[in-house]
Symmetry: D2
Subunit: 366 residues, 4 copies
């Protein structure tokens, strides 16, 4: 049943397969009067796009968006914004010999079981190609929440065994992130990551990683108690992205071995409408509601499932066979994650900013 819509008040609906004619996204609920043009969409699309360095897939997609509705004379009208991005370099023939078998680590088997037939071309709807729609919606969300002073930035913090050292997560800049094709702002770690990814590619293998995403300037009061906590919607948003295996907020799994006396973040005296805490183990939400402190998120990303080796697997009849993928793939999908993760975080924040506006108290603070 319908699972292609995300959000309540800033509502994103997507359609499109890896090898179909186009990816389509409708953003419903964006307020009127926001300046919006293709130039707002292109930078993050460019960051997400394959073929940018030899570290990533060589599929060559221009990823040229077209806005079909919701914008008039450079301003959003309040009507739903539809954007399409056509697929150009879809080499379906790469996938012809996969139709009769199930690739390990992929959705081939589960889609087949669910739908009774499947689109074998490049993973169809399960392909990471659909994230192009998320990035478009995320660019709109970023523009919207920037008005409230919110800024979202993500980077690669780990590739395989290489772990970056980032002393102050709130001080990282986009320039530092984009300085290396690894998107790791720690230049020394970035170099090691580059070497590791190249080595892994030569070994016809792939490797996992960790991405960190930080949101600064988040107003206090976002998120709804109980089920629609901000941290819950963020976790869903990030786990909905292909290849994500884990999500942490604030102290994350380190909290398990901490004491309360150490973990409790002490409030500092100050403006009662904009309190700060001395530390930020909570990661920006208390009771699931944003505290005004930076949102600190970490995401674990599995190694790309497709590797250009011969792998054991089974046919659609359950008989043993082998498979060797020929499609163009990334040796470390984590490197392309930051703009996608940022997009989902921005969408969640935009949704909750609009949701919070129904609360008179929230608006007073604003």
């Amino acid at each position: 049943m319908a699972g292609s819509t995300f959000g309540v008040s800033f509502r994103v609906t997507t359609a499109g397969e890896s090898h179909g004619p186009a990816n389509v996204v409708i953003v419903d609920g964006c307020p009127a009067g926001l300046p919006l043009s293709l130039d707002d969409l292109r930078p993050d699309l460019a960051r997400r796009r394959p073929g940018q360095s030899r570290l990533v897939s060589q599929r060559a997609e221009p990823d040229d968006p077209e806005i079909l509705s919701g914008v008039h004379e450079g301003l959003t009208t309040g009507a739903p914004i539809a954007v399409i991005v056509r697929n150009v370099d879809a080499k379906s023939r790469d996938y012809d010999d996969l139709a009769g078998l199930y690739r390990p680590g992929h959705a081939d088997y589960t889609y087949d079981a669910k739908y009774g037939h499947r689109d074998p071309r490049g993973g169809g709807r399960a392909s990471a190609r659909e994230t192009v729609s998320r990035v478009v919606a995320g660019a709109i969300a970023k523009k919207l929440i920037a008005r409230s002073g919110v800024r979202v930035l993500g980077w690669v913090a780990q590739v395989g065994e290489v772990v970056a050292s980032i002393p102050d997560k709130t001080a990282v800049t986009l320039e530092e992130v984009e300085a290396s094709p690894t998107r790791c702002p720690d230049a020394i770690a970035a170099e090691k990551m580059t070497a590791l990814v190249e080595q892994v590619r030569k070994e016809q293998d792939s490797v996992g990683g960790v991405c960190e995403i930080v949101a600064l300037g988040v107003p206090v009061g976002l998120g709804e108690p109980v089920f629609d906590k901000l941290k819950a919607d963020l976790a869903k948003a990030l786990f909905s992205i292909p290849a994500v295996m884990g999500v942490e907020i604030g102290s994350g799994f380190r909290a398990a071995s901490m004491r309360g006396s150490e973990h409790d973040d002490v409030f500092l005296p100050g403006d009662p409408r904009a309190l700060r805490t001395e530390t930020n183990h909570h990661g920006g939400t208390l009771g699931g509601i944003s505290s005004g402190m930076p949102l600190l998120l970490r995401v674990a990303i599995k190694p790309t499932s497709t590797i250009p080796r011969e792998l054991r697997t089974v046919t659609r009849d359950g008989e043993p066979t082998t498979v060797r993928s020929r499609g163009r793939h990334d040796p470390c999908i984590a490197l392309r994650f930051p703009p996608i993760g940022e997009a989902m975080v921005a969408i969640v924040i935009a949704d909750h900013v609009l949701r919070a506006m129904a609360s008179p108290a929230f608006r007073a603070i604003e």
Copy 2:
């Protein structure tokens, strides 16, 4: 805006505060004809209840549920099932002196900012008391999915530095879990955990932990592509529980340092409608859709924020003050997590079983 409803087809709505008259839950969408009585609700309520051992809070709540609708002559009717659990031992006076300040690690500040005023009694809606409603709904969900052969079980895998050793996560039994008040099925670790929790309590401190939850017998084909992936809804469900700081599925954060050749789970030859994989790094979903392999989830839980020490904090005016909590609290909230986490996992599975029924192919497999 409204955030007290969870699920699409198996839809759970809750209400109730820690120190109000009662907690209320309405489960809408449960099919007709399911045998259901109070005896189905009581065991998990008993597991969740405070006051069961000296390791947990001494608040004495009978947690007696009353079914107000949706059941006729021992069978569900298809109408919404309403259940209330009255609060009995709510000692609001314990909270009188907290009204003018913000406790560290709690939702006091964020609720105040959001709503302009707050219910200071025991955390109000932000208190873990609301999880009694989740456990009721979860018990109904468990009963429903048991018909499809699904079984959900959770346990404590880590407390502070003490890490359990559980060689086969699919073989743990409820008896093993409940054998110790720590809910750790590794008897040796359980003993160390007990000692640690007692020590922490003596030190007027608290400690975090990790809970693992496994679902066996999950049919292949649950979850919807893109946003409503099974893993995404599970992550949201678990992150919506108070104190949760991280969630992993399958390999989780270990995936970051793995190679694709190691992580890819090879399909074993066999019945094409019930394939198995040799390993289970994917943790039970592929492309976000259940694979039929066990669902493997891990949850990081922070140390209880309330500790019976004097802590620095601020008043509602942002002035420095100190606070010493007198309410009855758990030194390690993780010990009480398993029935709550199980409930949320069962609710998600029940929801997706009903959602999947709209797919003719899914039903064929059934």
Copy 3:
């Protein structure tokens, strides 16, 4: 699948059957800080209650509400508000001999087909008894929208052939409506209606009617384009009430024989933020968005299906039989409709007021 929730931002979920222990309603999304007590709920419950005059059913329900959550020291907290109303005078034995057959005009057959078994006691969930929950939620909604100056009032405009004459629908008062048990503000028509209902009762029959509902003070800008138009949500809300067969807004079916030159409501010069139209054929929405003019709604209500006569029907096996109902019923259900219809209209307006707050332009106008 789950159909017991109404609204997006002001979200009402109900449970409860005619002859179960209680009716339950959870209102989620009501802003914090609204004064609310049982005294706000009782007047409309009293208006809806059976047994008030010999014109209506003699079932004697005290309809005493209990607030279980969401209110602290007389103010809403922003948390969901749960209210229960226990059933007291449920005479299930009246229904014992109905279990094996299908009553004409009732939901017996359709529920049986849908759920495979049904609760024969007084219609179960299909009984108008569930409207007690709507009236509770409606009373909260009325209180909320009164802050924005909105007032909702309904009355009986037709019973059988007797049609009231109400020259100015915006000038009717609650006192005029409640002056007669028919709830018709035209005293002469009210007398004829009384006579007609008594005659129909003597004839062991029932009769239909029309109810009119007007909302004054509705701010301009409520409703969302395309599917969630204000008129669309109002129509759904009213058609969701048992026995409703038709809904009109403004000119309604009279529009079919009108010319555009006559129907177009001319704007009058004035404050551009509070324009008025010379006439109000549009009935308060233009493009589905509220215009600031009075909302004018008309609802057709069928004659009560249960009449105390022997009627031909069939058994659950499709064999011919007869049925004579003994339950206590209304000869003209339309007389009890106004508080229920008002409640649903108020809920829709409350929902759209909160939804509109996400639009900065709307708030400016406010």
Copy 4:
């Protein structure tokens, strides 16, 4: 806030303005394996299209749809189906002089109040141009429910004072409907309607009408109790269409003057899984759930608001002015209603067929 999505399980999201680049629709939830091609979309698009006879608007749109996703080798895949229809003949210059004033009967004022600025070109999102997306989604829904034997047909039953005589509403054929540009299957009435519409056009006026829509073969058991009754969702669907002022099911407003003894539809002995009633005053739903009898709906449509006369109105500053529309418009919009109304009815039935599949009892009947 987001109002461009309709349906729960068969979920339709639209975007697009009258004079923007294109209309876009995403249908999410359509099961896999349904044969679908452009040829399934074209016939209803052709029926809806302007410029087909001199009775309707002369805007010349080819209405050529393009399917961008969700279909592979002629079959739906289970993924969302995106379709775009480009606007070609949008003459925005016709609207240039309308930017500073509010047309009577239009959404100009309400949109301006809601969004703070508006797209003056042809009504933007409020234009009936958006119904092209409804017709596309409706064509997919029709194809889906045809598998269950459901057929939906609408026609014009009244134009101004001319009322058609249709003795058996369940026997009307598409050929009879499309035999006249009035879409009235009563040939004698159709001729009078033609004359009336031509006269009205000459008088630079417009006229209202009534459309009837019938659905045959609807399975028993569709609709959810209380709020999501089938009749409630149908009413919302129809009232969401521009120009609709009233909706009736079955006896509609005639029920007001009927007696219960006359209105109650007696069940006829027969197969207990497919009962019929002697009469069909209920119009196909009992307790809001489909009874298996034909769904009988009537819709009142106002006269087109735009008439080519000089009309009094006000400027955006509330000052008096006059307006004379030059856009191409229909003298009787009701004539173009049938394919649009059918589409919405088909979408509601498709949605509830999928929703009902979550009920094991419903499937047993299937």
